[in-house]
Amino acid sequence: MVPLSLLRYDVRDREVTPVWLGPHDHGWLRGLLDEYERFVGRPRWELRRRLSEPLPVEGSSWRIDVARDVLDGLWPLEVGGQVRPRVARAMLFDEAARGLVGTRDELIARVAGGLGIEPDVLREALFADLPGQRRLAALEPPISPLELELRSNLAIAQSILFRASAVRIELAGRARDVVRYAKLRGLVCTVLPGDDHDAAVLEISGPLALFRRTLAYGRALASVLPRLSWCHRFVLRADCLLDELPRTLVLRSGDPIFPASEPIAFDSRLEKRFARELAAAAPDWDVIREPEAVPAAGTLIFPDFAVQHRIRPERRWLIEIAGFWTPDYLVGKLRRLREARLENLILCIDEERNCAAEDLPAGARVVRYRKRVHPTAILAILEERQPSLHPMARRSETMLP
């Protein structure tokens, strides 16, 4: 995280816009990269000492420090030497503590002789594994000034987001990936439909955020940012505490931020296992992961799977695996499903939450699970007749173990 003292931002009506690195910085960024490359093969402390003095190409120190922070995280280091440093230390310091006669150099020569190496090799090996003493290795593939600029900007934005308690994101496209990611990070994420068909508004915070302007979720909130590059467009507004003052960080698509790599297909072990087992148990059905979001009574529902009969594609079910829930939450959710006429949605709920059967609304197509969503429970519903618009009578069939 970039320290607050290094961050620069403009403030207008409490809205914070970071000062970005840009193409005008490429000159000194190139110079900085050259210095790192020049010190390849040498200990890191030498580079640090060099960089405590100005670079040949003038750049403002906060920008240089941010870029250095990023490069230090990226640049590989290696341990040199012919003898393991830990062995060298143990032998030399034990020998010295024995208080035998002889000068320091004689002692080093004696221990080096025992190890079959030259005294200078022993001296060099002594701390060769410590972070400051590790040698810079070559960075492969090399990084360009542009990439360093974008990575530095990401670090700047995330460092402000580390001080965020809640985030509101208006986005278009790939909302599911962002919602899924936020939930995986233990955040509470509410989703509202946006203006366009593929638009959504996400409000993300942590459970404790209800009580205090907590920064406990800052790291998790900040990690959402690079994932926004998956969306066609976005505007992010984060409630932050900067210099003890409440501020709103505003970021939008087009800001020069390094993007995250594409999301992996399955982030949840539970869902991955379920998809595999359901596909095996139901050979006549296609398991489609992450189908389109479905608008339902003022919010968006992101089914985790669609299951479609191969011969009769009109037989299609949506499946959502819910982690957190309370009976009230469940009642609200099922009401929205009914209002949206989404009777073909199966909700899988975690038995660990220990919700008693009488707490569930009548007619809910709910499958309880414990550790694992059992494919036969789903299959029993799939193999019923085509979903009707009146599922209220099915409760006993769907309340499967």
Binding site: L4, S61, D65, R86, R89
Partner: protein, 457 residues
């Protein structure tokens, strides 16, 4: 009415249950359509719910993982017994203030044993993580869990680093009824206090040698842990339960070229710093660093200050003095404290002393401490690792080559020498560059030792 634990908070269900919205600390959470309270309010929420006579289904606690222990007897010194009795008498909440080396861990272990509660011990460093585990194992015959340093094992008695606890409390906040907070002065007014907020534990014991001063941070700490219930200083215990000690301040002249270089750098730094002080009286160092980094002059001032500080950290005179002290106490067990790791390594190279820094791996550090304990090593040099809580066996000489000037650091460092032994008088050598800011820094940090120094024993 049901109470559930949800990621560091308590959910009250259903929200329309009689009196639910009046429970202490409870707020309506529109995000999930539920009533929610921070987990640390759980004892009050539960007590009020029970008092109101509602039928309470308490699902906050996970399935019982069995009792702690069995325990072997833990012998306590009289003041440790007093501390434990004071904590038990205060409703199993509160802060115990005891000097380094006086056996705070033992008080905590006795608290776990006497209460029989599932306990989570929070410690600031990985070194202390292993030390606590090692301290608990001979007395607690049951499993001792560990969270941190690559291990995630939960048991009825578990030790965790603060950092692991911040990450894991949302899932483990309901698993323990007793929180032990080692070096509790690190909490209060920081992000870390949220670790305490996300736990339901009704019983809480804070341990420290250097409590924080009166103010909002202390008030918050007392709200989350309880008030100070027992307090003894070094002076109270020196002589019988802690070793006697004396402090020898050695003022050392800078060499001519060092003095010139130092004056030059401070000449660059001082005018800019004075100007900052004039414009921002009472401004913090972080503010100064931010202001300075905005201009070329400011950046030069900062660079000059860093150079000057580096120079003072280990002058030629200090290097010679370290050699002299090591030679004079050839049979002593010596700890050398430096201002930075670089100096620790320089002393290590020069005098062939094992360094104990954050860069040295856990196994090697433990191995070095073990060799120091059995006499195979007679000296260790460290920047910060030896400062806090580490149980260093039987050292009797300390050499303070450099430091921050903070009272807390100094008290912790001196505390390393105070393990009592027959006829022992520990000596603390402070090496100070004459005519520099180190002189008043040394005076300032000695204040933390209080009457123990004002009336040397």
């Amino acid at each position: 009415m049901r109470l559930l634990f949800d990621r560091g908070t308590i959910l009250v269900d259903p929200p329309n249950a009689m009196g639910a919205s009046d429970l202490p600390g409870v707020l309506w959470d529109q995000r999930v359509l539920a009533l929610r309270a921070p987990a640390w309010r759980y004892p009050a929420v539960r007590a009020q719910a029970l008092a109101s006579g509602v039928n309470l289904r308490n699902e906050v606690r996970p399935r019982d993982r069995g009792p702690t222990g069995p325990w072997r007897p833990i012998g306590l010194r009289p003041y440790q017994e007093e501390a434990l009795a004071a904590w038990l008498g205060a409703g199993q909440r509160g802060l115990v203030v005891l000097p380094t080396g006086s056996g705070k861990t033992r008080v905590a272990m006795a608290a776990i044993q006497r209460t029989g509660l599932h306990a989570l011990c929070l410690v600031p460093t990985r070194v202390l993580l292993h030390q606590w585990q090692a301290a608990l194992t001979p007395f607690c015959a049951g499993a001792v869990g560990r969270l941190g340093d690559g291990i995630r094992k939960v048991a009825p008695v578990t030790v965790s680093t603060y950092e692991s606890a911040i990450r894991l409390m949302p899932s483990l906040g309901s698993a323990f009824d007793l929180l032990i907070v080692d070096e509790a002065h690190n909490f209060g007014g920081t992000l870390r206090e949220e670790v305490l907020e996300m736990s339901i534990a009704p019983s809480r014991l804070g341990l420290t040698a250097t409590p924080i001063e009166e103010g909002p941070a202390l008030a918050r700490l007392e709200e989350l842990l309880g008030p100070t219930v027992y307090r003894r200083s070094i002076a109270d215990l020196a002589g019988r339960w802690l070793s006697r000690f004396e402090i020898v301040t050695v003022e050392i002249d800078l060499e001519e070229d060092e003095r010139r270089s130092w004056e030059e750098d401070m000449g660059t730094f001082r005018p800019f710093f004075r100007e900052f002080r004039r414009c921002s009286p009472g401004g913090a160092w972080e503010d100064f660093a931010r202001v300075a980094s905005r201009t070329g002059e400011g950046r030069r001032a900062l660079c000059a200050w860093r150079r000057a500080r580096r120079l003072l950290a280990f002058t030629h005179g200090k290097a010679e003095a370290v050699g002299d002290i090591l030679a004079r106490h050839r049979d002593g067990r010596i700890l050398v404290f430096t201002a930075d790791n670089e100096t620790a390594y320089a002393i290590s190279r020069e005098h062939l002393i094992m360094p104990l820094t954050c860069d040295i791996g856990r196994e090697e550090r433990e191995d070095a401490l073990s060799r120091f304990r059995d006499g195979r090593l007679r000296a260790l040099v460290s920047c910060r690792v030896l400062n806090e809580g580490l149980d260093v066996p039987d050292a009797d000489i300390a050499v303070v080559v450099g430091g921050t000037g903070g009272e807390r650091e100094h008290v912790q460092r001196v505390g390393r020498l105070l393990r009592p032994a027959e006829g022992k008088t520990a000596i603390v050598y402070e090496l100070v560059a004459r005519g520099t800011s180190e002189v008043w820094q040394a005076m300032k940090r000695r204040r933390g030792l209080g009457s123990a120094v004002a009336a040397p024993v």
